[in-house]
């Protein structure tokens, strides 16, 4: 079950935070309505732990609502979790023109095996350019195939 919160910034933009699992039960109508007058919307997705195929359709509906509510406004996605990053990489039109800023991706240390989630810009090769340092002194590597989590070069 997905939960959402909204908060208004001083500049009038609205932050939307989603938490939980996006599936067929995700009702986004209230969320879209709450952002109707905002000149800019920032969607925090770090709390989303999973998404089903029907959730992908719901997410597309939410994005369509957010993008279409006010002409030419900016919608940004931040802290995109692995579950959604894989869908954005596989379905390029899913975010419908929204700007994807950052993704929180799984990393693993090839030296000591430590695992960590690390935020990187959502762009090609970010897993190398922004690879985190491990506490053991090594450089962590993306724990997955880059083409499954990031856009193409």
């Amino acid at each position: 079950m997905i939960q959402h919160q909204t908060a208004t910034r001083g500049d009038g933009s609205i932050e939307v935070s989603l938490k939980g699992k996006i599936d067929e039960r995700f009702e986004y109508g209230d969320l879209v309505e709450a952002t109707r007058s905002a000149p800019k919307v920032v969607v925090h997705l770090g709390g989303v732990r999973a998404i089903s195929s029907l959730g992908v359709r719901s997410f597309e509906g939410m994005m369509s609502g957010l993008m279409g509510a006010v002409a030419a406004r900016t919608v940004e996605l931040v802290h995109v979790p692995p579950a959604l990053a894989t869908q954005l990489a596989m379905i390029p039109n899913l975010c419908q023109g929204a700007v994807v800023r950052t993704a929180e991706l799984p990393f693993v240390c090839p030296s000591c095996g430590a695992e960590a989630t690390h935020e990187v810009p959502w762009k090609a090769n970010a897993h190398v350019d922004h690879a985190p340092a491990c506490e053991c002194g090594g450089t962590m590597e993306l724990d997955g195939l880059p083409e499954q989590y990031l856009p193409p070069p």
Binding site: D23, E24, R25, R49, A50, S52, S53, L54, V56, R57, E60, P82, A83, T86, Q87, M90, I91, P92, N93, L94, P106, V108, E115, T117, E141, L142, D143, G144, L145, P146, E147, Q148, P152, P153
Partner: protein, 347 residues
């Protein structure tokens, strides 16, 4: 010592088209263990293989001619062995090539070589950097082909003795409970992050397919396909069975329904979207198309076993040992077994 599945006095064999050393070795080991003697030819044009008559499987390594259409290689091999089940194997551009091969009417089994997806997008690997197909996966696939449908569920994909759990699902509420059960099972083994997500996603998509897309009435018409997925459904007297288990390295999930309505063409049409690139989720109520694609992307093997009009079982096999990346690098094998109601296998 003879294999119980081989006729007395003969040795069943398999023909392999490959010139890739690691592939030849792995196939010989796996199929040899399964009771099939493997003989290889470097190109389809060099078939048939002398002294190989009772051919139970025909394996075609698409890397023998990476720029030749898969269908062309398969047709040439098929001409020499008209009835043997065909396995296509590939390492170069493996995902696209294997989906292309699976779309061929004669191909029901496709397997990536290990190491096939470790290169940058669009990169062409050197053959020397590739291993052959996974031995255990190939062994399980061939054994299942030889033994028929009497060993359903997840057991063929797990080490012998691994406990198998079974949950009956009759409605949407049961589906939620079953999903919670397998998530708890995975968490009890300390699976988290992407590994847990893969298990949960595959299970949910297979159950949703069995509840909404698979059910048919007595006339063979879809019953729940056009129902809004937010609405609960019940299957009446029909039962969907979720079976799952893990041997510490491999976790397998199987969902069986009593309808037998899944066609290979429906599977390949959806998987082809992976190769072609998904523009966006398709409109409409049903979500099975995207669900199948998502399951394909998280599974290391996707096994379809269909007795038309009687049963469908879809098994997702996921490697959970090692890193998430190691599992993803294995790629996804697809196997399609179709049996007549009398139990004989359709190649």
């Amino acid at each position: 010592m003879t294999d119980a599945t081989a006729p007395q006095g003969t040795t069943r064999g398999a023909a392999l088209v490959s010139k890739h050393g690691p592939t030849c070795r792995r196939v010989a080991q796996s199929l040899g263990a399964a009771g099939l003697q493997v003989r290889a030819a470097p190109f389809p044009s060099e078939l048939p293989i002398p002294d190989l008559t009772d051919v139970a499987a025909l394996l075609v390594d698409l890397d023998v001619a990476p720029t030749t259409p898969a269908a062309e290689l398969i047709n040439e091999a098929r001409a020499h062995y008209p009835t043997a089940p065909i396995f296509a194997v590939a390492g170069i551009d493996a995902r696209a090539r294997l989906i292309e091969a699976l779309c061929h009417a004669e191909v029901n089994h496709v397997m990536p070589k290990r190491g096939a997806q470790t290169l940058p997008r669009g990169g062409v690997p050197l053959l020397g950097s590739l291993e052959g197909p996974d031995e255990h996966d190939l062994f399980a696939a061939v054994r299942r082909l030889l033994t028929g449908p009497e060993r359903p569920g997840v057991a063929p994909y797990l080490l012998a003795g691994a406990p198998v759990h079974e949950i009956e699902v009759r409605n949407s509420e049961d589906k939620d409970a079953a999903l919670n059960a397998i998530v708890s099972f995975a968490e009890s083994m300390d699976l988290g992050g992407e590994k847990l997500r893969r298990v949960e996603l595959a299970t949910e998509e297979l159950l949703m397919n069995a509840l909404y897309d698979a059910p048919r009435n007595a006339n063979g018409e879809a019953v729940n396909a056009n129902i809004d997925r937010r609405l609960s459904v019940t299957l009446g007297s029909s039962i969907v069975r979720l079976r799952f288990g893990c041997d510490g390295q491999t976790l397998a999930v199987a969902v069986a329904d009593p309808f037998g309505s899944l066609a290979k063409r429906a599977v390949t049409e959806r998987l082809k979207k992976v190769a072609d690139g998904l523009p966006r989720p398709s409109p409409g109520v049903a979500g099975a198309g995207l669900g199948l694609v998502m399951t394909y992307t998280v599974a290391n093997q996707l096994v379809f076993c269909v007795v038309p009009g009687r049963s469908t079982e879809v098994t997702a096999v996921m490697h959970v040992a090692g890193t998430n990346r190691a599992a993803q690098e294995r790629g996804t094998a697809v196997h399609f077994y179709s049996y007549s109601p009398t139990g004989s296998v359709t190649p």
